[in-house]
């Protein structure tokens, strides 16, 4: 199709590989501990679907990083290292012995994954890394890299900030360390463990070479991930599901009659999220979470990390299913509203915003290609997707919370593979389907089912935009199906 779309994965990888530190061996400090016995090279070959042609995959690419052996014969890496992996290989730094591995669990929300070698004896003689406790800003930590010969290169850095920040999946924010460290460009640095006193303090997931700053998934998040892994059913990270504004403006505070010093103003509620199900409303002021008061920016006093955003408490310290009481001011009344923490229900999303391992769904009817709107699809338009992608689709994705709750998925005609059946429709692309043969379309399954019931021998397809309505000859579409598959080398005309 018409776009060149640099995959963002590649860019992130490049920024790591191009990170040429100006400081060399000075920062590499000798440290006599057992960490070498806990590190494994992880080579992952990944392949993502081409969302403009969802029946094919883009060319495979490889990512190389360093995994940390943790308790239970598991290797901890970032989710991005092994996202959409087709083949994973573990390699011992010194002996170059290799084993293939499987992803035991991957969670994009926290950007973590654990791998398990297929060779059960592979990890013999290795020692798992223990997890370190909380750190404070200003404390030192060491990032581990491998020299080509298997020696460990250590770069000492200092924690420069601890806050709740954005993770690559964009599904929300979790605790994030920033470590100032002059990391060198070395092969295989996509994921790197960071340690202190021989204990893991977190996994480096991004490195900003210009500012010499590494983003680290801290142990608090890792512990939550591992605890979920050990629970009978993995649920991951719950979300409160609110958007809020700080309440710093004294005029606004006086207007809503707020006398206490803190509090945040709820500006939006994710439909069917934890807050929504508990009855939190737009315009509420949240004063305290679980009895701990919030300041005007939504921070609470955390025992380990000091003043940080309340979502660390609700999302990471608490697990799905936990009940968290919110002290709420509504129309001058203070309410105590118990909120059961829930994981965002992706099935209910109108436009999937997450990275996904799943093969994208599609339906091809006579040459018309139908797909579900998703954030990854919009990102095929490149870094400036928000302005370059079709604006109606961007609007639906961005403001999906404001669409009717029963809107269902947005199904779009993404492009046309010209066939005799689609004569005159070749120019159509990225328009939103409303009905097929009179049936409202809220999913690709709806579309597939409705297409099985043509009206008077025609497939009648209706759209929000021009041409508003089009027709296909149902019998001809059916009889040409095999031809269409053969002609455009399509493995299948639908994947649901």
């Amino acid at each position: 199709m018409k776009m060149t779309h640099p995959a963002r994965f590649v860019r992130i990888a490049l920024s790591l590989l191009l990170a040429v530190g100006s400081i060399h061996a000075e920062s590499v400090i000798p440290e006599a501990d057992s960490t070498p016995q806990s590190l494994l090279r992880v080579n992952s070959t990944n392949q993502v679907y081409e969302l403009f042609q969802p029946w094919i995959k883009k060319p495979p690419f490889s990512r190389r990083g360093l995994g940390a052996l943790i308790d239970g014969n598991r290797i901890l890496v970032t989710a991005e290292l092994v996202a959409n992996s087709t083949f994973i290989e573990l390699e011992k730094p010194t002996s170059a012995r290799k084993s293939t591995a499987n992803v035991e669990r991957i969670d994009y929300d926290c950007n973590l994954a654990v791998l398990r070698p297929t060779d059960p004896n592979f990890l013999e003689g290795m020692k798992p890394l223990a997890l370190n406790g909380p750190l404070k800003v200003g404390e030192e930590a060491t990032v581990l890299q491998l020299e080509p010969n298997g020696d460990i290169a250590r770069t000492l850095g200092r924690i420069t900030s601890i806050s709740v920040g954005g993770y690559p999946s964009e599904s929300g924010s979790l605790l994030l360390f920033k470590l100032g460290a002059p990391l060198q460009q070395r092969d295989g640095s996509f994921t790197l463990p960071a340690v202190r006193d021989g204990r893991l303090i977190g996994m480096v997931m991004r490195y900003d070479a210009r500012n010499q700053s590494a983003d680290i998934v801290p142990t608090a998040v890792i512990r939550h991930f591992l605890a979920e892994l050990d629970s009978p059913t993995y649920q991951g990270f719950a979300r409160l599901g609110i958007v809020f504004a700080p309440l710093r403006d004294p005029q606004l505070r006086r207007y809503i009659g707020l006398e206490e010093p803190g509090g945040i103003y709820v500006t939006d509620i994710a439909p069917r999220g934890s807050a929504d199900m508990a009855g939190i409303q737009k315009g509420d002021t949240i004063l305290a979470v679980d009895g701990v008061p919030l300041d005007q920016d939504g921070n609470y006093e955390d025992a380990d990390y000091g003043r940080i955003l309340f979502s660390h408490f609700t999302n990471t310290i608490k697990h799905p299913g936990a009940v968290v009481p919110l002290k709420t001011l509504r129309n001058g009344q203070v309410l105590e509203i118990p909120v059961t923490m829930r994981v965002a229900d992706r099935e209910q999303a109108i436009s999937e915003t997450h990275l996904s391992e799943e093969a994208p769904k599609y339906v091809i009817l006579g040459g018309l290609v139908f797909i579900e709107l998703s954030r990854p699809y919009l990102k095929e338009w490149g870094g400036k997707w928000a302005s370059n992608a079709p604006q109606r689709l961007v609007y639906y994705d961005t403001f999906q919370n404001e669409l009717p709750a029963d809107r269902g998925r947005i199904i779009i005609l993404s492009q046309v593979l010209p066939t005799p059946d689609t004569l005159g429709y070749e120019d159509l692309e990225n328009i939103v389907v409303t009905k097929v043969n009179g049936h409202p379309i809220k999913s690709l399954t709806d579309l597939s089912e409705a297409a099985a019931k043509p009206i008077d021998g025609f497939q009648k397809i209706e759209f929000e935009e021009d041409p508003k309505i089009l027709f296909l000859d149902a019998a001809s579409v059916q009889s040409n199906a095999e031809n269409l598959k053969k002609h455009y080398a399509l493995p299948s005309l639908e994947r649901l």
Partner: protein
């Protein structure tokens, strides 16, 4: 040797000057001083700039030129060939939708010795034409010559929203040619008006052809320009055999499918989405949307192009497989104005507590280039989604003059305003009225349910002289276009 060479040169020069002498009695050089309104600081009068264009004398002691030569003009002088004196001129009529204007001259002596030019028809493809003007601003007449390359509908970039018939020529057309006549056999066959810069396309210039000029001259006969009218619908070619069959059409090549009928437009409530247009004013419509007219296949819009406000169009429609005859009274589709470049208008705004509110139009969007996604959606789909029905104007919080009273409002810049002091905001006037009310708090609610912006009225009043003085705000509102 020398003599032989020089003779043909002299001859050639004489030839050129013969034509040039004739045209020099009609060609006009226009110097315009204009003031571009400032949509970022709307109380300011805007920057003054000057430019040079061309024009020519037409019947009735008038000078024809492009609208864009005289847009936003504050002061116009014109000169004719062979007379060094500048004369004061005024805009008599301006048509921004087809980039034409007529000027009048105060001093009646100006027209002594001038020759009004006559208009010809549509020149043939490949026939030679000459363009006259003052490219790159020189004071002496310039002639370039080329052939007619293409005759087609083209977007007119002056308004950015309108498309009319235009003729592509390969004669060099440069800034300063604008408004100049393009001649063939002693008659005007077009007015040079736009072209591509050299890095986009070579030798592609456009002129406004005489059907468009004729329409303009006819429109202003009653003393005012009413602008083009429009059916305000979209249609699509009907090539697909299944679609033709489903819509009850014969297996021939007639008819186009109506897609969108814009609410508030001429066809609203008369034509329906899914109708098939078979004939327009009796002209059979081909399945690619063209009609035969004067031995040419032209887009069906051409019928509407030649009509005026108050006239109507007859459509023969196939609806639910049955023929229907419809009459559409034509009018100007006002919501489109919002998306076209506007001239000779002053920006409207309201300022309160250092917050500036403005209605959104193309000029606003061009000046501010906001990245707010909600605003961009509302603007882009204002017509297609009929958003104007609930919100005739999109009013945004467009700018902030920082002051203690508005210390926490900056982050909401470019938010669309839904409500002020309990009143729905549908036009900029509503916001002015809402701020007139006596309240303790001014409460500004934004689209999308962000937190309200709350300003204490007492503080707003206290801040008022301070903000006006500090930021040199000469007016706190302007509601007049």
């Amino acid at each position: 040797m020398h003599r032989y060479l020089s003779t043909p040169l002299v001859l050639l020069a004489t030839l050129v000057s013969l034509q040039a002498v004739e045209i020099s009695r009609s060609l006009i050089r226009i110097e315009a001083t204009s003031q571009e309104p400032d949509y970022k600081t709307p109380w300011n009068p805007g920057d003054v700039a000057s430019g040079v264009g061309a024009g020519f004398v037409v019947e009735g002691k008038r000078v024809m030129t492009n609208a864009h030569v005289v847009s936003n003009a504050r002061f116009l002088t014109i000169t004719k060939e062979g007379d060094p004196n500048p004369y004061l001129a005024k805009v008599l009529h301006v048509a921004h939708d087809c980039d034409l204007a007529l000027l009048s001259v105060e001093n009646p002596n100006f027209f002594k010795g001038t020759l009004p030019l006559e208009f010809g028809g549509i020149p043939e493809i490949e026939s030679v034409v000459s363009a006259y003007g003052y490219p790159l601003g020189g004071t002496r007449l310039s002639v370039t010559r080329g052939i007619v390359s293409r005759i087609d509908f083209q977007p007119y970039s002056h308004s950015g929203m309108d498309s009319h018939l235009a003729i592509q020529i390969d004669a060099a057309i440069n800034p300063g040619n604008s408004g100049g006549p393009v001649m063939q056999k002693g008659k005007v066959v077009g007015v040079a008006f736009q072209g591509y810069s050299g890095d986009v396309a070579q030798n592609v210039g456009y002129m406004i052809p005489t059907p468009v000029i004729d329409r303009f001259l006819k429109d202003v006969e009653d003393g005012r320009y009413d602008s083009y009218v429009d059916l305000a619908l979209t249609y699509r070619s009907l090539f697909n055999p299944a679609a033709r069959l489903a819509l009850g059409l014969k297996d021939d090549s007639t008819g186009v499918q109506v897609c969108s009928v814009y609410s508030g437009g001429a066809s609203d409530g008369i034509v329906k989405s899914g109708d098939v247009i078979l004939k327009i004013d009796g002209h059979p419509v081909s399945s690619d949307g063209t009609i035969p007219m004067e031995d040419e296949a032209v887009p069906l819009e051409e019928v509407v192009e030649r009509k005026f406000r108050g006239e109507s169009v007859r459509l023969d429609i196939l609806r639910d497989e049955k023929p229907v005859a419809l009459t559409v009274p034509l009018k100007e589709p006002w919501p489109f104005k919002l998306q076209s470049n506007l001239y000779d208008e002053r920006p409207r705004f309201v300022m309160a507590g250092g917050l500036v509110f403005q209605p959104v139009d193309q000029n606003f969007m061009e000046a501010h280039d906001p990245s707010d996604q909600r605003l961009n959606y509302l603007f882009e789909f204002f017509i297609a989604d009929g958003l104007h029905a609930n919100r005739p104007e999109i009013v945004v919080f467009s700018n902030i003059l920082p002051d203690p009273v508005n210390a926490y409002a900056e982050e909401f810049r470019y938010s669309v305003v839904d409500e002020v002091n309990g009143h729905k905001i549908k036009r900029i006037e509503d916001i002015a009225a809402a701020f007139e009310e006596q309240v303790e708090y001014d409460v500004i609610k934004l689209a999308g349910g962000n937190r309200p912006i709350v300003l204490e009225r007492k503080a707003v009043e206290e801040a008022r002289p301070r903000i006006r003085e500090r930021y040199a705000v000469t007016a706190e509102k302007n509601l007049e276009k």
